[in-house]
Subunit: 225 residues, 2 copies
DNA sequence: CAAAAACTGATAGTAATACTATTATTTTTG
DNA sequence: CAAAAATAATAGTATTACTATCAGTTTTTG
């Protein structure tokens, strides 16, 4: 898997950047550095000036890659979901039972990212943290509709569609497959955040992965005929 | 209900404001005006200067009520959830069946706010929109833990606890009542946002309230013994 | 009812942010 | 190796998120 993934390069919608960060060393430093910095200081406090200092470059140079820090966040978000989609495609291949495929899909969507597959310059662990804490800021803005037109959320939609299709394979009459899956995706991230910062909004345990268990059970009961 | 609610005044945690906005005309204008403006332009573009202009006052005067626009958002959030808790308390009173209480609770948590009970200067409809689009920004920050210590999220926690207790009344062995309810609360808001801006992440229909139906079904199936 | 206290508005000021523009230098590539 | 492209260095602008000061007005309270 590690080998396999490392040889694939994740393609990001071209509308999101001005110059592809994968196309140069500086670009890669911008991505790696931003993952680091946003994780450390939060998206609000993060600036291109600070990023420039951190990676030994300048504000102006970074602006040649991304129009704004909001676009950079869209980029990271896109990357994360494309990466998740790849993991999903490989993870579900060769599983014939739709129930097993669904189970695996939920696992992939809800489990904690622990190992760093070290996708070159991208630390998936830190990126996962960012997606948990910051990604909703990528769409909860007055520019959603514009960004949506640019295709900034296409990958998420695809992912939701893909898993919804599995649900419909199992129960073709289930009425809310998209709602169910988007509830699981966003919910799982939120529950991880709550577990760390607002534990009374969730149920925690040291044992196994409560979050995955909860959502797996939830989905299978929901779609039961 | 309208009469009843109007006579109650919602008490907000004193740590959140510098001076209680309920204590003066200017304070009330700040709240009413901010609900209006944040709704119109989004939290990011909203500033105290613009608010001052909108309500015929000044930036400096507003800063005497709230330390920052973030604190003002916490205030609006607190107000909304306190209001929801009141609606819940009245709505659930005298219902003896825990199943019926749970059903009503889910309805109150997931339904669209349509009428404006006109709680004096507060437009609940607009406030509901703000909570949908902006409230996650109230906790997805690097200051969560501090704000949590101030008690900024106490009402939400209480609400989750209250509904969890109903679940446990129905099924005392259910393992994830808090996760289930916080998933419903946040999920319902998110689904409304998706329905408006990212419809492929949800399932829509013109007919009845799909969101309430979905979450009601989800919860009852989840807690089945 | 007078003095004190609190409140508000007006104005000014600061450091930082989110950019844009210009030019010089370095690197790439044909 | 020359032309083109990319980057660094620097400067500049409007706006933001505040803080500070002060004077006039209202409210409190002894």
């Amino acid at each position: 898997m590690k080998q396999l993934l490392s040889s694939i390069n994740i393609k990001i919608n071209e509308n999101i950047f001005l110059k592809n960060p994968e196309s140069s060393e500086l670009g890669k430093k911008i991505i790696a550095g931003s993952i680091d910095l946003i994780n450390k200081m939060g998206f609000e406090a993060f600036t291109f000036k600070k990023l420039g200092q951190a990676i030994g470059s300048t504000e102006a140079s970074i602006y040649r890659y991304f129009e704004s820090k909001h676009k950079l966040l869209l980029y990271l978000n896109c990357w994360y979901w494309s990466w998740t989609e790849y993991k999903m495609m490989f993870g579900l291949a060769n599983i014939s039972s739709p129930e097993e495929r669904l189970r695996k899909a939920i696992l992939l969507l809800t489990q904690e990212v622990v190992e760093d597959n070290s996708f070159m310059h991208i630390n998936e662990l830190k990126l996962n943290q960012i997606v948990i804490s910051e990604s909703s800021k990528a769409y909860l803005t007055k520019e959603v509709d514009q960004d949506n037109k640019l295709g900034a959320y296409t990958v998420q939609k695809q992912l939701v569609q893909r898993v919804s299709d599995i649900i419909l394979e199992i129960n073709p009459t289930y009425k809310y497959p998209h709602m169910l899956i988007s509830t699981v995706i966003e919910g799982a991230h939120l529950q991880r955040y709550f577990a760390e910062h607002l534990p009374r909004l969730t149920d925690t345990s040291d044992k196994d992965d409560y979050i995955t268990s909860f959502y797996t059970e939830l989905v299978f009961k929901a779609i039961e005929k």
